[in-house]
Symmetry: C2
Subunit: 342 residues, 2 copies
Amino acid sequence: MSSPRVTMADVARRCGVSPMTVSYCYNRPDRVAPETLRRVREVAAELGYHGPDPTARSLRRRHNGALGVVLGEHLAYAFEDPQARRFLAGVAEVCRERGVGLNLIPTTGAEQDGERVRSAAVDGYIVWTTVDTDPVLEVVTGLGKPVAIHGGPAVPGAELVTIDNRASARDLAARTFAGARRPAVLSLPFDRDREPRLETGPVAEAVPFPVTRERLLGVYDHCREAGLDPRGLPVAVVARNDRYEAEAMADALFDVRADAVVAMSDQLAFAVLDAARRRGLSVPADIAVAGWDDDPDAGREGLTTIAQSLFDQGRACALIALGDGAPRREPGWAATVRASTR
Amino acid sequence: MSSPRVTMADVARRCGVSPMTVSYCYNRPDRVAPETLRRVREVAAELGYHGPDPTARSLRRRHNGALGVVLGEHLAYAFEDPQARRFLAGVAEVCRERGVGLNLIPTTGAEQDGERVRSAAVDGYIVWTTVDTDPVLEVVTGLGKPVAIHGGPAVPGAELVTIDNRASARDLAARTFAGARRPAVLSLPFDRDREPRLETGPVAEAVPFPVTRERLLGVYDHCREAGLDPRGLPVAVVARNDRYEAEAMADALFDVRADAVVAMSDQLAFAVLDAARRRGLSVPADIAVAGWDDDPDAGREGLTTIAQSLFDQGRACALIALGDGAPRREPGWAATVRASTR
DNA sequence: CTGAAAGCGCTTACAG
DNA sequence: CTGAAAGCGCTTACAG
C-alpha cells in the first residue's frame, strides 16, 4: 500500500528538468511550454507522483488552506444539535467556495485541549459553544491567526458573531409571559457540568455559558419591567439541547404549575409541548411557550420563536476565520409569532 | 492580531542554547536540564512563542496527526442524516483517543474533488457514501495512505467496512413480505442524481450506490425464493434519507396499493408509518413496514429493523485509516422484530 | 520559457 | 545533558 514516496525532485530528474519547472507544471501550467508540461505529466504518472506534498507546500506558502472549528463539546453532541448543524453547514459552504479544508477540533475541558487546538494545521479558528473561562480561548487568540467566536464570550483578539441574545430574550419573555400568572424558564445548560436541575431565580451574571447568560438576563429585564421579581422565577436547566432528554425538566416546570415558559431553544420548547400534550393541557390557554431558532419543526408545531440564521452566522464566522476583512454587522433576529403564545 | 512569527530559532538565540534544545523542551522535556527547561519556557512566553509550528513538524516527522473523512455529499446532508452522525461520532471517538485531528472533505462529484482530497494534510482516509464510479476512489487509493471505505464499493488499495447488506435485506424482506399480496420497496437514492421516482423492478446490478444496490439485490433474492417475480416489484426511490422529504414517495407506494414495504432506512420507514397514519391505515394489518439501523425512534414507533452499529463501524474505519493493522471481521447485523411487521 | 539558490520551521540519530 | 548538521518537500522572486 505505501510505496516509497516519490518527490518532485524525482520527477524533475527523470524528465531532465529542474524541480521548479515541475512545480510550475502544477502551480502555473500556463507558464510552461506545452511539450514540457506533457512530458512532466507523463513521467509523473509513470512514477506514481500525485502532485506536490500538501504539507511541504503549506510550510513553504505559509498557509494551510484549512480552517479549524473548535467545538466546546463532544463531536457527537455537535452533530445531534440541529442548530449546530445549520451553523456548520454555513461554515462548510464557505469552505467549499474558497476551496479550503474544514478541521473539527472537539474539546471537553480536558488538559490536552489547548495542545490539540494549537497543533491543528489551520489558518484560522471558529469557536462554537464555550464558556467564559475556557483556557482554550487564550490559546486560540494568542496564535496570531484570525479567530471568530460564536455566541460569546467577547474576548480581545477575536471577532464575536452573535445576535443580541439579551434583547431577543426580553422581547420573547414579553410575548410569552403576557397574561401568565406563573412564568418560568426552561434553560440551556449553565456550564460544562451540564447538571439538570430546577432553580429559582438563579444569579444570571454567574452563568458561564454566554448565550444562556444573556438570554436569562433578557428574561430578567422583562420581569423587572413587568413588575415581576426575577428572584422568584422557576428556571429549569437541562443537561443537553435535546427534545426527549428535556422532558424531565419540562415536567418539573409543570409540577411547579408554570403557565408560561420561555424555552431557550425550539428543542426545549418542543419538550414543553410534548409534556403539555401528555397531560392533556391546551396551548397557549393552559401553557404558553416559545423558543429560539425557528427550527423547521417550529412551523408544524405552531411555535412562537426567535428566528435567526445560524447558517448565515456560520458563513460569517468562516469568512472571519479566513481573514476576510470585510466590515460586518451584528446578525439579525426577529420574533416569529405563532399559536403557542397568547 | 498577526504579529511577526516567532520561531524556535528565535527562542534558542535569546536563550543562548541551540534550536534543538528548544525542540527537546517541547518533545522530550525529560531529557533537558530542569533549569534549561525553565529558562526556555520563560523566554518562549516572553517572546510569544507558542510551541513548534504544526506544519513544519508534520513535514519533518512525515505524518500529519490527522485523518480525512471524504463525504460523498454536501456537508449539510451528512449532518442531517442520523446514521452519518452516529458513524462520524465513532470516528471522532477514535480521533480523540489517539489525539489526531479530524478533517472533513465533502465532495459532490465536482471537478476539483480529487484535488481537494489529494491536498488534505492527513495520514489516512475514510470514505463515506460514494458510488462505484467515483473518480475520487482512484485518487484516494493511489496516495500510499491507508483508506477505509464504508458501505462500498470494494476497491483494491482500500479496506471495506460494511455489514452484509444483501443478506440482511433478504432476511428483512422475508419478514416484511410474509403474508403480503403487494410488496414494495422504498429505496435510498440510486446515484448522485438523487432523482425521486417510482420504478418497477429496476435492474439492481445497475445501481451505482453500493449499499442501495446490495439491499435491492437482497430483496430480489428473497422474492425469487418466495416465488415472486422481482420484475414486478414497485420500487420508490427517494432523493434523500429524510423522513419528511420521503413522504411523497411513501404516498406513491400507497397509490399502487402496497401492503408491505421494505424501506432502506428507518427514516424512510417512518415516512411510511406517517403516511399510513394520515390515511388511517393500521400497521401491520393494512401495511407492514421495516427499515434499517434501529434508530432511537424505532423503539418508540414499534418498527422492525435491521440493527447495526454505525458508531462501531466509524471506529473501525478510523482505526484502519490510522494504519492500525489489527485483523478485522465484518460488522454484525441482527433483525430487531417489533410490531410493524406481521 | 527555464533554472540556481535560498529558505519555510522544525526533528532526529549521533556524537560528545 | 547539549549541539552540529542534514534534510523533510516544496515555492518564489529573480535572472537569464
